[in-house]
């Protein structure tokens, strides 16, 4: 039965590697300026993890094949080098791997989190709530109106709790259920949670960030390809969690300007 285990281990190792080697499950196309670094990092890690996985399974298979079910009296041998070589091997191999991945990965992370948005970046406020996203643009005055939680009234489509009667800045704010952005322009997303924790995830944009109630966070990205992409919530937020989504609509600058105008006159 030892031989059978060895064969099954080989089959498992090869079958597990097959979909990866043949690219059966490709990452969706990357439409961001920072995403290629993340994709590279995934590729490098896949190579190292893949070799470790397949290698370890094959070695296990080989050892089981060779040493299982040996007769009593057959000579016992010890691995030459003993435990010392194993410890040194683990430190050297894994240590290098860690340093390599850690240092390279730091860059990819820094691209997203340690750079400030350009001064001219388009500011959009995103509000997450059970179970929808709403997006707010400052309008021609470039100023967001203040949020008043007690004035939030979904029935009257006052999703942000704005008070245009008393707040001049709020009067020209544009509120949309779709995140519309111009292509190749940096966007700074100001993230606000209305009720519980949510998350903003756009696969193609290689962006994922939690909305934290009471903590207004910001992230920035540049979308490089025109199109419509799904924004989904990835933080469990209640019974409609699975259905909480919106669209990211990346437009040409002209289309975007036109859209802004339409929204303002509404």
């Amino acid at each position: 039965m030892g031989k059978l285990l060895a064969v099954v281990l080989v089959i498992i190792a090869l079958a597990s590697a097959y979909p990866i080697v043949t690219n059966m499950f490709e990452l969706p196309k990357d439409i961001s300026t920072h995403g290629h670094a993340i994709d590279e990092q995934i590729k490098d890690t896949m190579l190292e993890a893949g070799i470790s996985f397949v290698g370890a399974q094959l070695v296990l298979a080989f050892l089981v094949w060779s040493f299982a079910g040996r007769k009593e009296g057959s000579p016992l041998k010890n691995f030459p080098g003993g435990a010392k070589i194993m410890v040194i091997g683990a430190f050297v191999l894994v240590g290098t791997e860690i340093l390599a991945l850690g240092v390279m990965g730091q860059k990819a992370w820094a691209n997203v989190y340690f750079t400030s948005p350009a001064p001219g970046a388009l500011q959009v406020q995103a509000q997450a709530e059970q179970f929808a996203f709403y997006f707010r643009y400052a309008g021609p005055d470039g100023q967001f109106g203040t949020i008043h939680p007690d004035k939030i009234d979904e029935g009257n489509q006052n999703y942000f709790g704005l008070d245009p009667a008393n707040d001049i800045a709020a009067r020209d704010d544009i509120v949309s259920g779709e995140l519309v952005v111009p292509v190749n322009r940096e966007v700074q997303l100001l993230m606000h949670a209305k009720d519980v924790g949510h998350s903003f995830y756009v696969r193609e944009l290689r962006i994922q960030q939690d909305f934290v109630p009471g903590l207004d966070l910001s992230l920035h990205f540049t979308a490089t390809q025109i199109g419509k992409y799904e924004i989904v919530c990835t933080q469990l937020c209640g019974l409609g969690h699975y259905n909480m989504k919106a669209y990211l609509n990346v437009m040409s600058q002209e289309d975007y300007d036109k859209w802004q105008k339409e929204q303002s006159t509404q």
Binding site: F79, A83, R203
Partner: protein, 592 residues
């Protein structure tokens, strides 16, 4: 070495009467079996819930007859609603992590075998021990009660992130009473685990037999000891976290709830709390919990492997030091669950490095296991198959950790099925393989009867192949961005992958059914199994020096004396190729 006064203190009279013998027993062996029974009930419930979830994901309109009886609101006409899916998921996670992965490898086997393996008559505090089981049992009852109240079980997942978990009924069905039951249950569970951990530590340090130095303890005893130290610190943080959560829910405090939240059109009457505080407290427990689940299994499979190899591992000490390092590092990595939580992005790098570093002791362990196979005479039986399977599973689940430990990759893979595949393989299945191996290995000692080997091997093959078929595709689905915790895949891009989900569901049903073979084997062998000799595996540690099953005071009033390291295999002994720990004979290294 035990002082005689200490030894006197923990010895109790033989139990009399059914209740004292089998229910409120002070005997660590009975308590161990009680923990095992509780874990068994929890694991089959948890598995059943996962079946319901998997079926619902791919055949959402399938009527499951009888399900209406479980919850009228949650499954009207036998069809699961979105909120009931989340209830099932929450209960699956909570049952499995707490009542299975903590109870079975650690509390059940630890209770039964730790005192025997160090030559003690019982735990240091037998009454505490009884209390820790019954507190845990109460915790289980409180949790299960959530199924039967009109509100239903909570829907916030086993991590119970605030403010969803803290604001009460505004957060949705199950969040009024169900969530409170969850909080009370886990708080009770923490108390039970703290008492248990204290007991394990005191027992290991104080009650070792003459000659049983720390380095002569078997590897599973070491693993239980290290796990106790981890559990003592981890549950001590989760307990106050649960209390604060209950206070937020019922006493109007705001530990986890900030100002200005509007939930269900109601401005919440809270101000000043922080949702991140819950996450920090929870994961300060939550990550060490992963090692509370896996370390005992590492110890158990090492203990079994060395017996099946008929020669010692490459190094006893290196295995112990590696487990210690893993335990130590497990406290520095909790933030890797929170890379995208909004905490300072610089701290992500600080948490990433120790996370990657934990790979080093884990690799050392794996290499020691692999290197020890070289030149051995591996005996294949159900216990050793599961031990070898553990190595394969541990590597498979471990390498995917490489991805998730890096914050930059986590941006893409966080909250996808990749994460689900990763932790199910390494924390769930690998840990359960340790439990299965331990069961096949120790069942003869615990019951005095052998388990059926043919059924055991069949169980192994179904479980081993089935697990890969279920959880490998999870990783692939994660790579394409398949988000977890969804009751249905409404995103357009998911359509082409539904076929894979169907494949997973079918494999889950088959693998789950395979576990019934194990259950049958347990029950059948308990009553009809071949009578077991004292030492069926020609093993060396102290549990094999006493009758099967052991008498109530383990060593029949005698005090064992230990002369050797625990694993004297491949030597010339009077009984064969091994020398037992309590045998005064000299160890002569075999010439062949």
């Amino acid at each position: 070495m035990a002082e005689s006064s200490v030894e006197q203190a923990h010895v109790h009279a033989p139990p009399e009467g059914f209740i004292r013998k089998y229910v409120f027993s002070l005997d660590h062996k009975v308590i161990g079996k009680q923990y095992y029974g509780l874990a068994l009930a929890a694991v089959f419930t948890g598995m059943f819930l996962s079946w319901l979830m998997r079926i619902h994901l791919v055949w959402p309109m399938l009527k499951i007859p009888g399900l209406e009886l479980l919850s009228k609101a949650g499954a009207p006409g036998g069809i699961i609603t979105p909120e009931y899916y989340l209830s099932l998921m929450t209960m699956h996670g909570t049952l499995m992590v707490f009542f299975v992965l903590t109870n079975a490898p650690f509390a059940a086997f630890g209770n039964y075998f730790l005192p025997i393996q160090i030559g003690a008559e019982d735990m240091a505090f037998p009454r505490f021990n009884m209390m820790s089981f019954w507190t845990t049992f109460a915790a289980w009852l409180v949790l299960m009660l959530a199924f039967f109240i009109p509100d239903g079980p909570p829907i916030s997942g086993w991590t119970s992130y605030a403010p969803l978990s803290a604001v009460g009924k505004d957060a949705g069905p199950g969040m009024e009473y169900g969530m409170s039951l969850w909080g009370i249950s886990i708080a009770l569970f923490c108390i039970g685990s703290l008492l248990g951990a204290l007991n394990f530590i005191a027992t290991t340090l104080d009650l070792r037999a003459k000659g049983m130095t720390l380095m002569r303890m078997p590897l599973c005893t070491w693993a239980w000891f290290i796990t106790s130290c981890i559990a003592l610190l981890a549950f001590a943080v989760l307990l106050p976290a649960c209390i604060l959560l209950i206070l937020d829910r019922h006493a109007g405090t705001s530990f986890f709830i900030p100002a200005g939240l509007v939930i269900s059109d109601r401005v919440q009457p809270h101000a000043g709390g922080s949702p991140l505080l819950w996450q920090h407290l929870f994961w300060f427990f939550g990550h060490p919990e992963v090692y509370i689940a896996i370390l005992p299994s590492m110890g158990i499979i090492s203990h079994i492997l060395v017996n099946s190899l008929r020669k010692p591992l490459l190094s006893h000490r290196v295995v112990i030091y590696s487990m210690m390092s893993i335990g130590f590092l497990s406290y520095m990595v909790w933030g890797h669950h929170m890379f995208l939580s909004g905490m300072n992005p610089t701290s992500a790098l600080a948490f990433s490095f120790p996370t990657l570093t934990i790979t080093i002791p884990a690799t050392v362990l794996t290499l020691i296991w692999l290197g020890s196979l070289y030149g051995a005479r591996i005996q294949i039986n159900s216990a050793s198959l599961f031990s070898l399977g553990f190595i394969s599973m541990f590597v498979a689940g471990g390498v995917s950790g490489f991805f998730l430990a890096q914050p930059s990759i986590d941006i893409y893979l966080h909250a996808t099925y990749f994460v689900v595949g990763h932790f199910h393989m390494v924390m769930g299945v690998a840990s359960l393989f340790g439990v299965f191996a331990g069961t096949y290995f120790w069942f003869p000692k615990m019951t005095g009867r052998m388990m059926d080997e043919t059924l055991g091997k069949l169980h192994f093959w179904i479980t081993f192949v089935g697990t890969y078929c279920i959880f490998m595709p999870f990783h692939y689905l994660g790579l394409v961005g398949n988000v977890r915790r969804y009751q249905s895949f409404v995103d357009d891009f998911m359509a082409p992958y539904i076929g894979w989900h169907k494949f997973i569901t079918i494999c889950a049903l088959i693998t789950g059914a395979g576990q019934l073979i194990f259950l049958y084997n347990l029950i059948y062998s308990r009553f009809k199994g071949k009578p077991a000799p004292e030492n069926p595996w020609n093993a060396t540690s102290l549990e094999w020096t006493i009758p099967s099953p052991p008498p109530w005071n383990n060593f029949g009033g005698k005090h064992p004396v230990v002369y050797h390291d625990p694993y004297q295999y491949g030597v010339k002994g009077s009984k064969g190729d091994f020398v037992m720990q309590d045998s005064p004979e000299q160890v002569i290294v075999s010439g062949d």
